[in-house]
């Protein structure tokens, strides 16, 4: 595991400058810590507490409240499969079963060599793209059991896997860094809205429908 360094601390301090009160930076700070160490460790909570002038108990209270902060190493890739009602019933349950079998891991467990963390995730705001899966929280939409296992296989072989609405998959820690510092140069990846997001626009164009025009303006 990587050590937290003076540079990490400096980045934590930098994050506090975004907010009128520095305690507000606790969530990005914990994301940053997780980007360095692959989990939230006691020493990370200690450093966070020092930077924010909080007790470690106060930091611990926050770190244990939010499900994205992990208390065990996640490994290289975080695999999320939505098993909330809609995705589950449209096939997400079968996707989860297949991936669980492939990895030999259950909910919030890693595979035997600690590369993949599997998690049944709650609604990912991708219901139109059900069954939804995420890899390091990047969208992997519209999965089937076979396609999801194929994603795992390709990642395991070190091949490039591209998010269906985002960048090529990096790893869990890289995403955690993005959550602290979103300006990672990847905002343009994935391009324009996909066919599902444009479903209504497409039908409207086919049927010659549009919103009433804006009134003529002097300005």
């Amino acid at each position: 595991m990587s050590e937290l360094t003076a540079e990490t601390r400096a980045h934590m301090v930098e994050l506090t400058h975004r907010y009128p009160e520095k305690r507000s930076a606790i969530m990005p700070i914990l994301h940053l810590a997780q980007s360095v160490q692959d989990e939230i460790t006691p020493e990370a909570m200690q450093m966070c507490a020092e930077v924010l002038d909080l007790t470690t108990a106060e930091v611990n209270a926050v770190a244990t409240f939010y499900t994205m902060y992990k208390r065990r190493p996640v490994g290289k890739h975080h695999i999320g499969i939505c098993t909330n009602t809609l995705c589950a019933l449209l096939g997400g349950d079968a996707v989860y079963e297949a991936v669980s079998e492939r990895l030999g891991a259950g909910h919030n467990e890693t595979d035997v060599d600690g590369t993949f963390w599997l998690e049944r995730i709650e609604c990912q705001a991708a219901c139109t793209h059900a069954p939804a899966m995420t890899v390091d929280w990047e969208f992997m939409d519209c999965q089937t059991p076979a396609s999801a296992v194929d994603v795992i296989d390709r990642l395991a072989r070190g091949e490039t896997v591209v998010s269906t609405r985002g960048p090529a998959i990096r790893d869990f820690q890289a995403t955690e860094h993005t959550l602290a510092f979103p300006d990672d140069g990847l905002a343009g990846e994935g391009g324009e809205a996909d066919a599902i997001m444009c479903a209504g626009l497409t039908v409207a164009k086919e049927r010659g429908m549009s919103a009433p025009p804006a009134p003529a303006q002097g300005a």
Partner: protein, 436 residues
């Protein structure tokens, strides 16, 4: 037939619409220029007159909310955008942030100007990094173009915008829990009153608005109240970014006037997928609002008509289920969600979601009993109206609605496991059979 009316979504197929240049090519930031020539109170008045209602679920009139912020009180004011979209079935704010982040940013600047906020926060759920990147990039572009910062466009108005990543907590979609979370605490709801309008972030006047609500603002300011009120009804004016999911042939985003019916949306979405081609049940706006059936397909999707039908418009993101789906299983899974997401602050919700889920799981396995049905009703009755925040009320919603329309299925589940009555494979949207 109610037509589709793409407004916020009108240019989503343009390759660079999510950039400043692309957004500007289609009139982006003209509303801001206009707004900066107006008095802030005049903007609040315009939004009030437009009748815009909050798109996050509750449907509270936006202009009215803004007018509750005390002015000239010498305190800092904040605008907080609730971009924590986590409601099961809701998937319209994340697409808006990915495809049209500048509409949100422009709306943030105008709204902040109107309520005299000099710092705005966009609280985005942490599980959607691509949406976070897009919004953060849009904010940076706007800063570089002098649209955010000091003395914006020579107006004397200063604004900072902070994009904040959440870390996985449905409860943070509740506005006071979101504020606690943004202050660096566990995301647990606050007692109301006082309301955020007077005691919000850091206990100063704060407006919390949903992404889609704020994304409406540029069009209202630019095109005016009359134009906006052409859409929708008297009580539900405007257009809505509907996200249609589930058993439909073309799931996706459909923007239409409020008042469109589910039957019309279904037609645009290519009809029901799978099963016998009929709708068994559907939910107009997230699992926290009661389900409806095929009998309600012609009910207008407005705040008032949905309320009359015994449900709510909610987030306006209909989930459609065909006849292969077990209501018992659907409801059980939703309750497992509420149990997982209950913040633990109040007893009715923390304990109630635990007990409801346990009893529902008995039905799922065909081991429910007749008294169990009564018990569930009682427990739901003890949560609804007695919990600290709306999450508790939401958790008490799915079962009573399911029982109202599908009591037979619960009776069936007193002796037969739901997976036998409704084989799960029948509901899948892919044909490959799950390896077991």
């Amino acid at each position: 037939m109610t037509p589709l009316t793409p407004v916020i979504t009108a240019h989503w197929d343009e390759p660079d619409y999510f950039t400043l240049e692309g957004y500007r090519r289609f009139g982006g930031y003209r509303a801001l220029a206009k707004a900066l020539t107006m008095e802030p109170d005049a903007i609040i008045g315009t939004v009030k007159d437009s009748g815009l209602r909050g798109r996050g679920g509750a449907g509270f009139p936006t202009g009215l909310k803004w007018s509750f912020v005390p002015q000239n009180d010498g305190k800092p004011h904040y605008l907080v955008v609730n971009a924590d979209e986590s409601e099961p079935g809701a998937c319209k704010d994340v697409p808006i942030m990915m495809a049209n982040p500048h509409a949100l940013v422009e709306g943030v600047i105008i709204s902040s100007y109107a309520i005299r906020a000099q710092h705005a926060f966009i609280y985005i759920r942490g599980e959607v990094p691509q949406a976070i990147r897009r919004v953060a990039a849009a904010v940076r572009e706007a800063e570089q173009a002098g649209l955010i910062g000091d003395n914006i466009q020579g107006s004397g108005f200063n604004l900072r915008v902070t994009v904040h990543s959440g870390a996985g907590a449905y409860i943070c979609g509740e506005e006071t829990a979101l504020l606690d979370s943004l202050e660096g605490r566990r995301g647990q709801p606050r007692l109301k009153p006082p309301f955020p309008a007077t005691h919000g972030l850091y206990a100063v006047p704060t407006v919390v608005n949903n992404v889609e609500t704020i994304a409406n603002i540029p069009w209202i300011v630019n095109n005016g109240v009359e134009w906006f009120r052409q859409f929708g009804t008297e009580k539900s004016p405007g257009f809505k970014v509907f996200a249609v999911s589930g058993h439909v042939n073309r799931p996706g985003i459909y923007e239409a006037p409020l008042g469109i019916t589910m039957r019309e949306l279904l037609d645009y979405a290519g009809g029901v997928r799978g099963g016998d081609g009929t709708v068994k049940f559907w939910i107009p706006g997230g699992s926290s609002v009661p389900m409806l059936t095929a009998d309600h397909l012609d009910t207008p999707l407005t705040y008032e008509a949905m309320a009359e039908a015994g449900t709510m418009l909610g987030t306006g993101t209909p989930m459609v289920f065909n006849n292969t789906i077990s209501v018992v299983k659907a409801v059980t899974r939703w309750l497992e969600f509420y149990k997982h997401e209950s913040c633990g602050k109040c007893t009715p919700c923390r304990e109630g979601t635990y007990w409801i889920t346990g009893v529902l799981e008995r039905f799922e396995h065909g081991a429910g009993t007749d008294p169990d049905m009564k018990l569930l009703e009682e427990v739901c009755g003890q949560i609804a109206g007695r919990s600290f925040c709306a999450l508790g009320d939401a958790a008490a919603t799915p079962y009573p609605a399911a029982l109202k329309y599908f009591r037979d299925e619960f009776v069936l589940a007193t002796h037969t496991p739901v997976d036998e009555t409704f084989p799960p494979v029948a509901g899948y949207v892919f044909s490959e059979v799950a390896a077991r």
